[in-house]
Each structure stands twice: as C-alpha cells, then as structure tokens.
Symmetry: C2
Subunit: 486 residues, 2 copies
C-alpha cells in the first residue's frame, strides 16, 4: 500500500487535512481498506501525500474521533469500523490472516523496499538490471507495428507451446549458437522467471534441492522456495561454478537440479570458460543432474562472443536452455523461451495452459517479427556499442572514486559489476544513507546471505551523468562511514 | 508429444519410411527425445504423419535394429540409446521421474484429449468456450495499432499492479456497473485463470477448502488442487448457488473461500438473481467468508443486462472481483483484472512480480485503448447481436433434434447450454464416437464428476453450418447408442 496514486489538491479551497480525511474515509467506505487494515504510518502518509506530519495527524485524529480508525500499541493505526458495519455485532472477515497464510513467500523486505523506491521521482537506480528506457527500441517497435506483415495476429487462445511462427524463428535463432532443435521442443513463456516457475512446480517435488552458483540471482526470488525446495549455493571461481564442488555439495546436501547463468552471470558478471562448460556438462551426465542454463545475457557480449552454450553440446538432453527478450529488447514484451527434451516441454506446456493459458499473442507476434526481420540483430549492435561505452565509463568512475576501498572485475558482457567493499562497514547503513540521498543500491545479500560486503552495480540503467553523480556521492558516504567507524 | 509439426515429403525421392527413420533419429540425436523417452505409438505416428501403419513399422524396426529404440511390454516403444551414449556405462538422466514428481497436477486426460483434438483439421468444436475467430475484432485491433495514440507503449518492466492508464480506465469501467474503486485497488493479471492462480498461492494454505458451484468451470483446472486445496461443490438451483447450503457445506466440509460465476455461469448458463446476490453477500458477511466473483461473461448479456455484481454492494471488502477481456475481445490479449481490498491486491501484486514480472505491456496498452476509446462498447454491441442469433439458432436445432432425449434451459447470456441427456447412455462412448466423426464434445464430467449425463454446448465458437451438421449428426449417434442399449 505504498503508491497511493493520489495527492491532495493544493489549489482547492478545501483544507488539506479535510481532503485527506475524505480520501481515507472514501477508501474505508468503498471497502478498499476493510476493517482490520493497517493504514500507512503518519510518516509514510506525510511522505506520500507531500504534506506536513501535523496535517496527517489532524486528519487521522478526526477519523479516530468518528470511530473509523484506532491506534494499536505497536501495530500502527488500523481501520476499526465503517459506517455500514456500525451495527454489526460480528467481527468482520479478517483478510490479514489470509494474506499471512498463503503458501507463496513474500518478496524479501529489501527487495520490496527496492521495488517501491524505484518509483520515487529523481531516484538514481545504481543497481537496476535492465536497459535504460533510452536504450529500449521504441522507434523499431513502432516500425514493426506499422509495417504490413504477412501474418495476422492470432487473437484466439495461444497454442500450448506458443505461436508456431515464433517457435520456428527461435529454432533458427538457436541454431546460430549451435543448438539443434525443432519448434516442438521449444516452449514460449512470459519471461525467464516464468520458465523457472514452471520448472519448479512441474519437475520437482517439495523437499527437492536446487544447486546454484553462490551468489545467484535465483536467491533474490522465491520461485523454488515457495514450492517447497531448498537452494544450495556452490562456490564459484573466475571461470564459473566448480564441477568438483557441484559433486561434493550434491553428495552432502542433495541436488535434483543445477541452475546456472554461464554467460555474464547475475550478479557477478562472470563468463564461464569453454573448458568449464564441457566439464560441467560431463558432470551433469555422470551425476544424472539436469541443468537449467539461464542464458538471458548471452547476446549482450561487449568484447567477444561468449563460448557456445552448454546446450549446444548436450546430445543427451540433460539441459533445459532458457532465453528471453527482457534484457535485450524489452522487459515489457514478457517473452522468454525454454528449449529441452520434448516430453519435458510437453509437461511444462500443460502446466502453463493451466496457469495462464499461454503468453500474450501480441507479444509473441512482435517477438517473431523482431527475430525474422533481422531487426533484432541490428538493435543488438546498437545496444552493445552503448553498453560497452557505459561499462568503460563506469569502470573509470570506480577507479577514480573507489580505488583502495573496493575491488571488482571488469565484465566482458551483460550489465553487472560485483563490487567488493573492502573496509568493513555496515551495508545496511550504506543502503539507507544512500537512499536518503536519492541513490538506490542493490546490496549483495539479496543474492547471497553471506555477501555482506558486496554491491551489485549495473551500468545498463542510470544515465552516465547520474552514474557519475551517484558514484562520487557514494564514495563520500562510504568515507564518512569508514571515518565514523574509527 | 502430439503435434509433431513435421510430415514426410511425398514428392521426395527418399522413401517415406526412410524419411521417418531419419526424422526420429534426428530427434534422438539432438536430445529432443532423450534415452528413456516413450515415443508415440505406431497408430499415433501413422495418424500424425498421415502414412500407413506399415510404413511406420518399417521405420521403427530399422531404428530398433540400430539399437536406438526398443519395445517394452505394456510400455510402448522407448528410446534406449543414442550414438553418443553407446559406450556410456551409466544409465542416463531419467526425465520421466522428474515429469512424474512435479507438484502441479497434469490436466485431466479428457481435457488433454480435447486440447489435442482442437488442432485436428476440420474438427467441429461443439463445446469450445471462446468467441469464433470470425467474431474476434481483427479490424479494430489494427485500427488501435495504427491510430496515433497520445501514449507511448512502455517497454520497461511493468508496474507491479499493472499500467496505471489501464487501471484508471478499468476503475471507470467498473464504476459503470456500480463498483466504486480506485486504481490502487486493481491488479492487472494475464487472464482470469491467473487471478485464481495468484489467489490460490497468495491467500490460502495447503488443506484449505474452496466452496464452489456444483458443477463449475473451476473443476476443469487444477489451480487450487495443485496448491493443496480441496474443492467442495455446493448444489445450485435456477437462481444460482444456495446460501443456506453454503452455510451447511461450510460447517460440514470447511470453507475458506467461496468461488462463484454469478453471471451466465460456466457451464450451466445460470444467471444469479438479484435477491440471491444480496442473500449470498449477507451470508459471506455473516460467515466471514471471502468471495471470488468471477464475472468474465457479464458483458455478454443477450436479453437484458444482468443484476449488478455482488461487488457493487460489498461495503466491507469481502469480495474479490475478477474480470477479463478473454471472452469479449480476445483471449490472445491475456488481460484480466482483480478488484478488491488494497492490502490483498498488494499481496497478490507482490506474488505476480515474483512469478512473471507482470503482464505484457503491449497487451496492457491495447486493453487500455480498447476501453478508453469506446471501441470496446461498439464491439460488444456487435458481438451481442451475433451471439443472440447464434443462441436462438442453436436452441432451434436442439428442439429439432433433441426433443424428448435431452433437456436444457435457454441461457440469457454468455456462451453455454448445459444439455441434460435423458436416456442413460455411455457418455464416454458418445464422446469417442463423436470424435471419430469429427465432432468434439465437452462432457459434463469435466465440470462435475457426478454430471455424467450432461454435455456443455457452446454456441460461440462453431459456425452455424457446422453447428447444424454436428447437432444432427450427434442425434443420430445418440439414437444409435440408445438402440444398441435396448
């Protein structure tokens, strides 16, 4: 309940506190804030509505006097009544219990905080893992819509595995990176995250273990944990996850699936070497361990194309290969794909049909046009040039401001720099102070509970001016924290 | 593994059996059919590839001789080796165990059969619950794309609750049916089914009970059962579900949520009366029972607009109101919505972000244009006229061919006629014989295990010529079954 989408009108003759009172009353009377709802704190309200705290206080006091709101010790202010239920003797339905009892885990508090802060005006998003809005291909997207395509958009329910034209275009696309597959072994999904969601409920049982790189993006979402699985982090070196440790951890903690991001890893930026890929595939075969190869950053190489995917060498069908348009073309399309053994794709397609009846036809149509017209490759060339410039500039800024207090590797593709902060300072304090000054960070602990001294920097989102401002500001905040510590 | 998407080339100089052999070998060598895969039966292959059984047999025999395939008693033919693993001593990864052990239940066999049969060429789909492709607004959709909109399509990650412009347009739309709500209490989802999916994992725990109409659409999907909930069917009369029985069943079997389709119910076509809506809402309040009001057919009234939704009288926020564009504009858009208490929407939005990062921006953009330009209302007027004509014609056909052997009520909106077959014949036999003759039925048992003597007829999909052909053919099949029984 953070983005109210309403502010009092300062030009109105109705006093601000009165407007706020009416607004809250409206929420209560419409049942949008049912009895039992904990309303935002006075501080939050005064922030969100951009008014003085005292204005909020007088509105809330008035509603309390009318018997609609009441403060609860340690529980904030809650809705205790609405005019319609004044006479009702029974306590009302308690939604809070429902919200608490759902099996799906809520996002981590830090991530919820990040999600909210992203909508603050003027915030500099130093860790956001997506292309800057300026880099998204608005012009080309319009071109696609306005050109006369030979294909009509299918407006009916999509085919279980997705639009055949798109799957055919994808089979060609995958061939170019050495993956031999036919459209019937490809499933279209609404982004890579949905691929993981389907795999979690379609192929694993409660209590299964998923091996993954430590740190990993996967720790920042609850897709496997909510389905009752546990995540087992396996240490990495500069070449990627270590096969011998995969075996060791599997013996020790179990392992029903291995999840990896071999190309321009999120959050470390590591590119898995060719040898490591071969070794890991051999391990998968020897251990009979299915591999989910999340390769959504592959096309964003900046120096040289990465080694071929594990999937390209996977003659036994051990690898489920996951790709997406979200990092390269547009997250808003919500188009990703899985390539893997046909019986497995059949199973996942069946579940997809049961959960959302397939992905948007408009998006599938657009994605197929992107691939089949060659616009995708043109766009990538542009994006790579821009990202390379951004990476180089960001590295320069880091050298300038963080020499001595932090260390990092230079990524050869993707979005991320995994910044190790050398002096031991409170990262919570760093996060909060930075946020107050309008800089949003992605702390390392999102990706690995033990990565307390890390930050994920992304050079893809903020403008270079913002980046410069944020990084120099951040180094001052850090110095301040270091000095205070001494 | 039913839609191979490949057929042998009859014009090639390569013999058909050789082409099929190479095709299957390709599948095996690429890992699309890994070792352990059960390949389609010889009958299925000869159907799918449109060749004689003997052609299939000679291809399969050759592959068996090469050591790639082997028959297994009662288990069909399986892949037992691929050239790469000839020397491998270890048994390969067993995907079958994974496919079997996922927590999400597979679709019911009958539904899988229906899903497959829908793609047969020339099949008449007598039960399909969607608008005929001819009724989908291709022209208007193009108009929407080509007109200059003031709004740019947002290509970034969508806002957690969905595009604000769309939510604002929906708040206006809902106001017209008496629902007072603001955009912050609306969540955009990828169709009504996803709404149910989010509710199941977001608000209920394993072991919860969901009360619902008996029969109900909800029995045909596994969205609640796969999350560990049980469904409790409550009998209905001509006015809809009976509040007194809701109380009784809740006492007897538990009830954490009530799911209803009050307007033009799927599959019975029943329209809940105004009085019943009030009574049911009172029951919900008295029993503290949250209600999911699935109202996706509301706008498809044919005679008179239906009574206002329960949600319009819901001052206490007990009702989660679900709507969708899938039945009215286009299933391919994958756009639906939920309106309900803000803290509940916050919770569901958080889960949506964790499972698919929001719905397609293109689809959200298009949906907002549909609503805000008035094109939606224009289109509805067209669709209603056409559906009314179709309903009337279908009823005439039923009177002509099924008088005496079946009974039905005339629906006043939506898509469905719930046909009660009076003589006791085997519905399985009816389904199979009809399918052989190119008519696809939706048996009642999909919606209620006990509705063995029912069929769901939909007048929205097949053309009237097809409808006439199918209904007269069906009555002959039925008579044949009746006679054979005697």
């Amino acid at each position: 309940m953070k983005d109210l989408g309403w502010k009092p009108n300062r030009k109105s003759h109705v006093p601000l506190h009165k407007q706020i009172e009416e607004y809250i009353k409206g929420k209560i009377l419409k049942g949008e804030w049912p009895v039992g709802t904990r309303i935002p704190s006075q501080r939050q309200l005064s922030d969100m509505l951009e008014v003085n705290r005292s204005t909020v206080v007088s509105a809330v006091d008035e509603l309390a006097a009318q018997g609609l709101l009441a403060g609860k010790k340690g529980g904030g202010t809650r809705v205790i009544n609405n005019t319609w239920s004044v006479l009702a003797a029974d306590p009302p339905l308690d939604w809070d219990t429902y919200v608490q009892s759902g099996t799906y885990k809520p996002n981590m508090p830090t991530i919820q905080e990040i999600n909210r802060a992203e909508f603050h005006p003027n915030i500099i998003r130093l860790g956001t893992g997506e292309l800057s809005p300026h880099l998204l291909p608005h012009g080309q997207m319009h071109k696609i819509w306005n050109r006369t395509s030979n294909r009509q958009i299918s407006l009916g329910y999509p085919e279980p595995k997705g639009d055949l034209f798109l799957r055919t275009a994808l089979a060609d696309h995958l061939q170019r990176i050495g993956i031999q597959t036919t459209p019937s072994s490809i499933l279209i999904v609404s982004g890579a995250l949905q691929a993981l969601q389907l795999i979690s409920v379609g192929l694993l049982h409660r209590g299964s273990s998923v091996l993954l790189e430590k740190p990993s993006y996967l720790n920042s979402v609850h897709v496997f944990q909510s389905a009752g699985m546990k995540l087992v982090g396996v240490p990495v070196d500069q070449e990627g996850i270590q096969p011998s440790l995969v075996c060791k951890y599997k013996r020790q903690y179990g392992g029903d699936l291995l999840y990896i991001i071999p190309s321009f890893h999120n959050p470390t930026g590591i590119l898995m070497s060719e040898k490591r890929r071969h070794d890991l595939l051999a391990t998968s075969e020897q251990q009979r361990l299915p591999v989910v190869e999340d390769d959504v950053y592959r096309d964003l190489w900046l120096d040289n194309p990465p080694p071929l995917p594990l999937k390209s060498h996977d003659k036994n069908g051990n690898v489920l290969y996951v790709g997406s348009f979200s990092k390269t073309v547009s997250p808003g399309l919500r188009i990703g794909w899985i390539a893997g053994p046909e019986p497995v794709m059949d199973r996942l397609a069946d579940i997809k049909m049961q959960t959302d009846y397939g992905s948007s036809s408009l998006s599938q149509w657009a994605a197929a046009e992107w691939l089949s017209t060659g616009l995708y490759q043109d766009h990538l060339n542009q994006v790579r040039k821009e990202l390379k410039y951004r990476r180089n500039s960001t590295i320069k800024l880091l050298e300038q401001h963080f020499g001595g207090v932090a260390s990092w590797s230079v990524p050869s593709g993707g979005f991320y720099i995994w910044l190790h902060i050398i002096p031991s300072i409170s990262m919570r304090e760093l996060f909060e102070t930075a946020l107050k000054e309008g800089i949003l960070l992605n702390p390392g602990t999102i990706y690995d509970r033990d990565a307390d001294q890390y930050i994920r920097i992304s050079y893809s989102y903020a403008s270079l001016e913002e980046m410069e401002q944020a990084i120099s500001r951040l180094s001052l905040i850090m110095n301040d924290l270091i000095n205070r510590r001494e």
